[in-house]
Point group: C2
Chain length 347, copies 2
Amino acid sequence: MKRIQKLTIKEIAKRAGVSKGTVSAVLNEKDTVKQATRENVLRIMKDLNYRPKGFARIMKRGDAGKSIGIIIKELNYPFYTTIAEGAKTYANSKGYSLIIASSDYNLESEKKLTSLFSAKDVRGVIITPVVEGHSEIEHLFKLKMLNYPFVLLADVKGIAANVVEIDNERAVGKAVEYLKRNGHRKIIHFAGPPESAHTRERIQGFRNAFSENPLAFNEEMIVPVGSNSKVSYEKTMKYFKSRKRKDYPTAIVCFNDLQALAVMTALRDLDIKVPKDISIVGNDDIHYAEIYSVPLTTIRSPQREIGQKAAEILIRHIESSNSLPIERIVLDTELIIRKSTRKLSIK
Amino acid sequence: MKRIQKLTIKEIAKRAGVSKGTVSAVLNEKDTVKQATRENVLRIMKDLNYRPKGFARIMKRGDAGKSIGIIIKELNYPFYTTIAEGAKTYANSKGYSLIIASSDYNLESEKKLTSLFSAKDVRGVIITPVVEGHSEIEHLFKLKMLNYPFVLLADVKGIAANVVEIDNERAVGKAVEYLKRNGHRKIIHFAGPPESAHTRERIQGFRNAFSENPLAFNEEMIVPVGSNSKVSYEKTMKYFKSRKRKDYPTAIVCFNDLQALAVMTALRDLDIKVPKDISIVGNDDIHYAEIYSVPLTTIRSPQREIGQKAAEILIRHIESSNSLPIERIVLDTELIIRKSTRKLSIK
DNA sequence: GTGAAAGCGCTAACAC
DNA sequence: GTGTTAGCGCTTTCAC
């Protein structure tokens, strides 16, 4: 009965009847080792299923290659993966690899991942923060203490940090203004998931768009829908089935494109025509918005640029020997007019 | 003029007039340090922009948390991110974090990333291999030598390794059989990017489907289109503009869903109706295939399951103290019939 | 509270 | 060809 003990190069050396140095030479594929010795060592490593510890190797060597990380909230939403692509392109151009992880909107995951990245000497990290301005930001303070470089993709109250973000309020404002200019008066907003800061910002933007005429706004114009496709589809069905045609809005400003696509699918099944009966505006401008059968009018967030800028700031901070002042960038959005909206003739 | 020298805990200690041990205690937020001392040390760390090396900390501590990696070929294609999601779900359930990186179809990136992962003590990695059965697989042999656990998501000739994959040939065969059963005789295949192994396998599957009647097949039935949306759109336009209506196929088997969506968009612009004039079958079953205005008939690859199985095998190998036999799993595909295909009335 | 010293598992000279 | 030895930058007893 062997006691469980750590398997190191030393143990391999002992069993092979050689020194640690020789085993190391085998591991590093030096050609100074006799073939027979090499094979013997290799066989023993295999038999014992020995796996050299990377960190110990790095310790001497100095480095394992430059890399930065990004923590996104969701793997499968093109909005985030496109941001990651933007970051990757810039990072690669500077000789850095990009490593991605998803928090899945979970704060514990975010904490775990930040400490994982810093512990593994990923040089810095871009974070789409899950926090809600709560005080659950000790992990970010920890990073600051370690002088670990990071860039946030949304403001987090209570901490001074590098931020790259878009102006969500203004984005939605653009959509509403455009619809109004085109004769729409009955405009509603299908809001996003309640836990998202974007949801609140976009609701606020929608509300602000009526500030010059507050009477035009009422709370019923905000419909909680979320961004899950299936749920959005069902809520849209329910929304329209539960009211008369004359009470239909003439336009819906959607939380994001994924939701907008689901809404359009539901409208199709309800035999409500887009844009003839109802105009739809999305948000984000994901690839699939453009190739949908009714190409979606949407507010484009410059996703690649967000990633690119964030990586740029991050790497600047990583490579600076002295600590740099904080940077904050707000990128602008752009209304992309396609086929899902139309001008209303004045009656 | 200061000479450039490595900034370590020792230097901080010297400048702060304390010992390394004390600085370490500050870094680890021990409460055995006097407030004044702590603040002084912290200030000096900040002034010098000192960042502790993670690997050195791990060395003593033992571990930085369990994690596995996955190297996909593209960040922005839902097929891959869904596989990653499947892997993530399983990994998390076993206490592992998942780290993602993309090779962007580039072999050098793949090599770089595998060595990055192994050097950083990510415990193992799932790889969608870029290699083409060439002999450029030294990096995989390197992993084997280090007994570093990995799982491939496609067979690579020349190396015995864990593999989880789908039967692409059979998948396309299913599509063709289904179309034939429904009266289609003029079926063509829009092939994928030439550098992809999937492209070749799917072409082969298409060809095989005519093996019982070889005369029914000719090379013109394979049209190189690729999977880029824009290019696919253009090539589709060109294909149909350059031939007469009577020479149109009655059905197209597409390389993947992204291509199929682009093809359908082009057909819409050509005023060719799907499925009335032409039936379209995709491949993969990404989310957007389902919500497209003409929901796409497609061959579903069990993406989540692929990721899940791969993670399962990987973690089993990671946690085994002795080296386990290689595993190979071929998952089956499923034809999902939606609205983009129709039965042809026999004339 | 703080300092001194012994390692963590490996690599890289340099002997032999 | 192979063994010996001195670290890599940090953490962690254990004295003081």
